[in-house]
């Protein structure tokens, strides 16, 4: 990357300056950012779980599960839920777009997929709420 590229990417006149971005560009940038987060997560997920599985009898696997089921970790899992659902739903929109579905109504398709994403995020929240806030401080 050239030195001037930095200005090209992040300067006031760049296409990525917040006030220069329209819906589709936000969706595009969001897809890249969540994608990078997910690649990092997947490799952490694989390395932690696989190395914990190699010990005889799975003692370190169970210890890892014990740690990661604590409320703080489950709360971070909820952030993961948001990232995954956004990436999946926006990705679905990209696939539809590439198949020629809804090209003339791109913005509408974007907001419909985001509405579905919001419903799924609420569903995820309801599913893990009791793990983040255990009743009676158990």
């Amino acid at each position: 990357m050239k030195i001037s590229s930095f200005k090209w990417l992040f300067g006031r006149n760049s296409e990525f300056w917040p006030t220069n971005m329209k819906t589709g560009m936000w969706a595009w940038v969001g897809h890249r950012l969540t994608g990078l987060v997910l690649v990092a997560y997947v490799f952490l997920h694989l390395s932690f779980i696989s190395t914990a599985s190699t010990a005889e009898g799975g003692a370190s696997f169970d210890a890892l599960m014990e740690t990661t089921s604590q409320p703080l970790f489950v709360a971070m899992d909820f952030l993961l839920v948001i990232v995954v659902i956004y990436h999946a739903m926006n990705g679905l929109r990209v696939v539809l777009f590439d198949l020629g579905v809804g090209i003339r109504r791109q913005k509408l398709v974007f907001w419909v997929t985001m509405a579905i994403a919001a419903v799924l995020v609420v569903g995820g929240m309801l599913a893990i709420w009791h793990l983040v806030f255990p009743a009676g401080g158990a």
């Binding site: 990417l9 296409e15 696989s50 009898g57 599960m65 995954v84």
Partner: protein, 131 residues
């Protein structure tokens, strides 16, 4: 500036573009199965306190070959989709476009090595599955 940019598919390749879409749809299905199996499915064994995932519980499942096939399938799709996505992001921001071959080889090495690692990790369960 828009006119400076080259269409991603021209840099990344049509096959990569098409496969990224196919693996995307497959991954939505795999992820739904993965979450259901890991967190909601009852394996029908006394495997400790819910909702904690335990090694015993996972072992009960992995004794059936179908779960191992699903895991290998999901792992290969995740690696192809994730690493190809990483490649797309790099090329989108004009990084390493001149070093495309190097990036491609490096990502293939990482992907294949991780896949082999994943296969090796689950091998003991396959040998158990028979008896």
């Amino acid at each position: 500036m828009a006119e400076q940019r080259i269409a991603t598919s021209k840099v990344a390749g049509t096959w990569a573009w098409a496969f990224q879409r196919l693996s995307a749809v497959l991954l939505i299905a795999f992820l739904a199965v993965h979450l259901y199996v890991a967190h909601f499915m009852d394996v029908g064994a006394e495997t400790g306190e819910e909702p904690l995932i335990t090694f015993d519980e996972v072992s009960v499942r992995l004794d059936q070959l179908v779960y191992i096939i699903v895991d290998y399938g999901m792992l290969s799709m995740v690696l192809l989709h994730g690493l190809n996505g990483l490649r797309t992001v790099l090329f989108d921001f004009d990084m390493f476009v001149r070093r495309k071959k190097v990036i491609d080889v490096a990502l293939w090495v990482v992907g294949v090595a991780t896949l082999i690692w994943g296969i090796v990790i689950l091998l003991p369960f396959i040998t158990n599955a028979g008896g």
